[in-house]
Symmetry: D2
Subunit: 275 residues, 4 copies
């Protein structure tokens, strides 16, 4: 079912890899809601994943780009505006990667070169795509930019490592750039703090299954899925949320404001049963 | 323009008084988006205001009710379900009043009977409408309840008096009841923390003009209007935001995350010009 | 060991009942640090508890007072200033009680008369003691007032019931009155958000043992004890923290900023062992 | 006047430059309170400033070190432990610098190499000093580490540029490392979010005078000075605050929880007088 919420709008989706990706679901949903799309990811990710399939399904063009490279962003925006026939109305940033997590460097024996890479890929890429967009006047007035984040930016989760810092940085960039892009071009910038989600990236986190279970039982509405997130994204891309900006928006079934639920406590109590 | 976001949905709007009311705009917008409505307010407010006009415009029924009285809430829900032909999908709570503000009792010489009234009318009424709804199973699964709040719940504003406490209480109720109603019936409960708005209630706040100006200059997107708020509300009532619950959602053009803007600082600096 | 941090200071401690009370420990510690004290509680609590013993130990006078009654607060302050020989430098508010919790009224079948009592006793009493103090100019410049709170004010915990609202209200009062008392008399007002603690009041909370265990394993430094809290309080009463005001200060071994610890996750995982 | 709060404790102070530095005041105060100290800064800063004078006054040793260099941190810790005669009890991190601010690169035309330098110097240096300390077991159990931060981590201030991101990152590191260092060695890690302060670094911020004035009028207790901050620091280094960790502690006269004060509004209103 479609509401045509994004009819006539042009969007760029960063970071879809395969059908499990949140960005994939956002692209599908945005297309359903009437948007025209350009999809982008690094060349490596495009080879590894199945972005072609998504492009076909959504009539989108794929433009490979490394979001940490200015010139590739410039080329991306040029090709996107040409393909879509005008300036951009919305952007999704769904990019995150930590070499420290991948190479199992614990947080108290971290590799600092990797740390900078984590920040560069997962957070500064967001500043870059915004700066390049603003300097080239790529986004329409009242455009909407959303990046995906996680509650690790506020609360420490064992094993999440330097991605916590990347997400804190990402949310700060959303505020700082949201102020400037808002005052000058009415562009709004927000982050969605999503439930843990079983994407390819999510599965890489140590102890993800336990976390998913705990999070599911803590959240009164259960974890938000990738599809749920896509639904939420289209409201933020739409013209109905024009005055929401610089926010971290929790989309997590209530998890963020829970201290302890009956269900999680009940499960936790079982751990003592045989002791 | 309508997206039919609320097609087939039944809603109850508490607190519309006249055309300046946020609740009024929400009713208009929800109607545009396909919802069927019942409007409610106290008998006194209905006499003072112009709710009839809104009812005509939106094909809504008016059911007078004092939201602090259990039996009146029960009657309201019964009449609403009868008129609308089924259970309720969304509710807006836009109710606030402080006798201390009205009678100019300063916060450090407050009248405690009034203080309880402020809390009763502006916050406990929200608990009551939720408790009565839940006990009588009035709201459909995945229904959505929204209450309007203000950043005074987090940060002190001179002159806002005990309404700060009422809003803090209101947001706490949204969390506590959001947990219970969510886990048992999938009903989500959120508050929208709205820019200062020139409603009849807003105009009663001392120094409102100065605050509006400051807030406008601090917010990169300017203050959110009542119409903007109505737009945002319909996204929260829609099926696209099912996993957002227990949140205080800032709808304020960015104000809540600003420390100091160039525009506000520039204006502030002018105050020293002749000294 | 004493630092004489409170040498020459006069304080009033509300809410000590018996040796398990946080207020008891605060009184002991404040006395050790050189303060002269007046202890107060309701007549009923004084009969039930063992305040006499504390008074002897700390050279304090006991003045019975119901903190919800203006005239009793006035009498308390008068007797306190007379006994102590001057104006007051610090006050501890450690008062909380919910008839709904006591009578096992669940949050979605709450008794509203009780709800008002919860708010009156646990939160408005704080406003009252501040208002009476300010109107009678009871507190010295740069005096310090602390109230005890709990993270339920921010995050929902199953079973905590309307005490969540009372604590949210309490913290809001600390901000609102902190602004006014600060600007006019340099008095600072803060709340300490303490780990769950095995006091007589704490033990009344349903599922307290489970919560204590979970909280202990989540907090990198473990739960803060009543003694720990007393230590922290004296720093806030001292002259070393003069510019801290209107804050909710988490004193909880790190719990408030944890999403998931290794220890808690490990324990949680055990719950699945035999299934 | 001294309480001997830090008697027998050994501390390292990073970042004192001259008498205006907060770190300078902290060193003086810690010394007064009985601590033995090592002072450190980069060689360049030591040449530019007057650290010798501070060292003489406080009987401290100066050990030059660039806090972004692992081997220099190792040498620093070794020399410090040797000079002080044992492991370290407390550390102050007061380091921040943005080449983008210095070279007037606006936030939407930022230099990314500089951005990484801002983060490296102002935030990753904090991770480095913690990681090197933990790996070499430099800090005693229940030791205390404090870093100075600013509310720009939460709210955007015009002109603060990428220092906002650096402070957000710094606070995140305090949480993440606070969890690990806490659970393993009982070391607590906090940040103090200080009022804008007229230090050499502070004076570099564009529009600092206006900000100081606004902040002073907004804060019920006025801006916290460098001396105030030093007082607060010693409470956090002391044994009285052992269960406070992973927190951002606002030390700002109440600013952080103000929405609008009478004084600031009054001043703001004057700006319209002649228009």
């Amino acid at each position: 079912m479609s509401y045509n919420l994004l009819k006539g709008k042009r969007g760029i989706i960063f970071g879809a890899l395969n059908e499990d990706s949140i960005a994939w679901k956002v692209a599908e949903k945005a297309y359903e809601e009437g948007a025209q799309l350009v999809l982008t990811n690094t060349s490596v990710a495009i080879r590894m994943g199945s972005l072609d399939k998504l492009a076909q399904k959504t009539g989108a063009k794929i433009v490979p780009a490394d979001a940490t490279k200015i010139e590739e962003l410039e080329r991306l925006y040029n090709e996107a505006m040409e393909y879509l026939g005008g300036k951009i109305d919305f952007i999704l940033h769904s990019i995150g990667m930590s070499p420290n997590v991948r190479k199992k460097k614990p947080y108290d024996n971290i590799n600092y070169e990797y740390f900078h890479q984590t920040l560069e890929i997962s957070a500064l890429s967001f500043h870059k795509l915004l700066q390049v967009a603003k300097q080239n006047d790529v986004i329409n007035e009242w455009g909407s930019v959303v990046a995906l984040t996680y509650i690790a930016a506020q609360r420490t989760l064992t094993g999440y490592n330097d991605m916590a810092e990347a997400k804190a940085l990402l949310e700060s960039i959303a505020r700082s750039f949201g102020y400037i892009y808002g005052r000058e071009k009415r562009v709004r910038i927000n982050t969605i703090s999503q439930s843990p989600t079983e994407t390819t990236a999510g599965k890489a986190i140590k102890g993800m299954d336990s976390l998913l279970d705990f999070s599911e039982r803590m959240s009164p509405l259960g974890n938000a899925s990738a599809e749920d997130c896509a639904n939420y994204c289209v409201t933020l891309f739409s013209d109905l949320t024009k005055k929401v900006t610089m926010q971290t928006l929790y989309h997590d079934g209530g998890f963020s404001n829970m201290g302890m639920s009956e269900r999680a406590m009940h499960q936790y109590d079982k751990s003592f049963d045989n002791y």
